[in-house]
């Protein structure tokens, strides 16, 4: 045990003197993703807000045929652009986003009380035009409803007769849950932060030590291989944890900077979230540390180990993508799967839901058991003769 502590202390001191480790574990890892996240969210929110308030430019053909109709739309935010000769071609060539054609017979139909047709010319394959089409649709619908009511009243009929069924949506999503939808990637970012935090140390303490030919002298000391491995694992875990805690604090700051009110979101990123997240992530950090050491121990050089662990960073992405692509109902067994369980738990915390103690206990025990298993596998590797031989 004393040997493990000596190894642990030396690995920590050595890493604290490595600018590369410090930069990755304590700066890039914890800060990169929250900052990226903040910028991304501002972009999304900014675009949504801009769209809702901005005047909607539409090319209107035949404006003189229905001046009242056009004026009603303009009051709702439509901006009339001058006519173009061939609107269909103009839309196809993307010179024009949206065109509204009022055919000559509109006036007759209107006067006779027949449904008067207008044509909307657009390209539905263009992602950015879709919301504009929805907006102009809604404007026309509003005008249509208002006119219908007026016509019915003029004939002495209550407009409510023309609305046999009305739907009232009662959205049960809490403001937190709506926020969590946008924050679905946050659990992955946190796990990624833990991965980045420990990665350099894990490589340096195994493949790096082998490459620099210092592993052979180390293993000749009268200290068991288990103690050496334990020391290296704990040093990796400490850096990983430091990175994670810094990352969480950065997210707390980011959370307060997000335009949450504009979005109607409530986010539960506070002290309670940080505490429970750290508790849930601690066993996972141990599992990550020992797995990184295990993987890096197979490599003969620093670069080789870097390649392996770089690929390993994609593994925790699987549950996140799975949950986004195939929305699943959260079940208890999910809590038992390492990586998956922690992501589910953090997501629930973000949504402001309570996480059952049972789920936490199951998650922690399965993750710790997995860490113990991989420790045992790594120890077998550490005890093999070929590990120590560098050349």
């Amino acid at each position: 045990m004393n040997g493990a502590l000596v190894v642990w202390a030396k690995e920590c001191v050595e890493s604290l003197r490595d600018r590369r480790v410090l930069l990755n574990a304590l700066v890039l890892g914890p800060l990169l993703t929250p900052v990226l996240f903040l910028v991304l969210m501002h972009l999304i929110v900014g675009r949504e807000l801009e769209k809702a308030e901005k005047p909607l430019p539409v090319v209107v053909i035949g404006q003189k045929i229905a001046p009242n109709f056009v004026e009603a739309l303009q009051q709702q935010g439509m901006q009339t652009l001058p006519e173009v000769p061939d609107p269909e071609a103009a839309v196809r060539e993307q010179r024009v986003d949206l065109a509204l054609r009022i055919p000559p017979r509109f006036a007759d139909d209107w006067r006779e009380g027949r449904p008067a047709q207008v044509e909307l010319i657009y390209d539905s394959s263009r992602q950015d035009v879709r919301s504009e089409v929805e907006r102009i649709d809604a404007m026309i619908e509003t005008f249509s409803t208002r006119t219908r009511s007026l016509r019915l009243l003029a004939r002495g009929i209550a407009p409510s007769v023309a609305t046999p069924v009305v739907v009232a949506g009662r959205d049960q999503a809490t403001p937190q849950a709506r926020g969590a939808l946008l924050l679905g990637m946050l659990p992955y970012f946190l796990i990624l932060t833990a991965l980045i935090g420990g990665m350099w140390l894990a490589i340096d303490a195994t493949a790096g030590e082998r490459e620099r030919q210092s592993l052979e002298p180390l293993l000749i000391n009268p200290v068991g291989r288990g103690a050496v491995l334990l020391g290296k694992m704990l040093a990796t875990a400490v850096f990983s944890m430091a990175s994670l805690v810094l990352g969480l604090l950065a997210f707390v700051v980011v959370g307060s900077l997000l335009p949450a009110d504009e979005l109607g979101l409530g986010l539960s990123i506070g002290p309670h979230f940080v505490l429970v997240a750290v508790a849930v992530m601690t066993p996972l950090v141990l599992l990550i540390a020992i797995t990184q050491i295990w993987v890096a121990s197979f490599a003969r050089s620093f670069r080789e180990a870097q390649t392996y662990l770089g690929l390993a960073q994609l593994v925790p992405l699987i549950p996140s993508v799975l949950m986004m692509v195939v929305p699943m109902r959260l079940k208890l067994w999910m809590a038992a799967v390492p990586l998956f369980g922690q992501q589910v738990t953090i997501l629930r915390l973000l949504r402001g839901e309570t996480v059952s103690d049972q789920a936490i206990v199951i998650g922690v025990s399965v993750t710790l058991a997995s860490a113990a298993l991989i420790f045992w596998l790594t120890l077998r590797l550490f005890r093999s003769e070929r590990l120590a031989i560098s050349g």
Binding site: R17, P217, V223
Partner: protein, 245 residues
């Protein structure tokens, strides 16, 4: 005292060591001499318990390497083939790390380290990070690291590799000092002059076997000109004819 008895070790189809036996006595420098690839490093690695022999026994000061490896490691100081240092630690920290791994408390480790760095005349180097050390400075640090627990037996794998004349002279003084203190020194080398200058006893290894074992004087007798280099060539040649290759 280090005793090897009938050591065998194979890597796949390659028989690296095939029945090596010898003894290295206290108060003597024993040289393990042999061409490259003769099995010297593998033999030493088995002696310092990094590898397990397929067959045979090793005893250090009477302790069996197979049944009491930790006890054996306490009794030997090793300058292995790989002598990497931690370049972000100072020379002193490198040595103290090993002292602590040998179970010394921080104070003991500091004291012993200062004493050793002084004895090896490394005071000016002691608090510099080992990054940028010359080859000689690195070997010196690695030797300090090997001697930090004051071992009775010292094993050195090609200690003079890469050293210049000055550094080599310093190394020889250190080894003679160890002998004078009554320690058992076992070193491997392929350099004849080193053997002549230092060794009390020579064990010649070729093709994984001991082909000669004796004092430099006794080995010279194999050559008409009483030249050790000729004697060496003759002994190796005879071993090759016997079916080594």
């Amino acid at each position: 005292m280090i005793e090897a008895h009938d050591l065998w070790k194979a890597f796949g189809a390659t028989q690296a060591v095939a029945g090596v036996s010898f003894a290295a006595q206290d108060g003597e420098i024993t040289g393990l001499l042999g061409p490259n690839g003769a099995g010297k490093t593998t033999t030493l690695r088995m002696l310092y318990t990094l590898m397990r022999p397929d067959r045979g026994r090793i005893r250090v000061d009477g302790f069996d390497a197979a049944s009491a490896p930790i006890e054996v490691r306490r009794r030997i100081g090793v300058l292995p083939d790989s002598r990497g240092l931690y370049k972000r630690l100072t020379a002193r920290e490198n040595v103290e790390y090993f002292a602590r791994l040998h179970g010394m408390n921080p104070q003991q480790a500091r004291d012993r380290c200062s004493e050793l760095l002084c004895a090896l005349q490394m005071q000016t180097l002691a608090d510099r990070r080992t990054e940028g050390f010359s080859q000689g400075e690195r070997v010196k640090t690695a030797i300090a690291r090997a001697l930090v627990h004051n071992p009775r037996n010292v094993i050195l794998d090609e200690p003079s590799n890469g050293l210049d004349v000055m550094a080599n002279r310093g190394l020889r003084d250190v080894l003679r000092g160890l002998r004078a203190e009554g320690r058992c020194v076992l070193m491997s080398t392929h350099i004849m002059q080193e053997v002549i200058a230092l060794c009390d006893r020579i064990v010649i290894i070729a093709y994984g076997r001991v082909v000669a074992d004796g004092t430099p004087e006794a080995l010279r007798a194999h050559s008409p000109e009483r030249n050790l280099e000729d004697a060496f060539m003759k002994i190796i040649g005879a071993a090759a004819l016997e079916g080594g290759v």
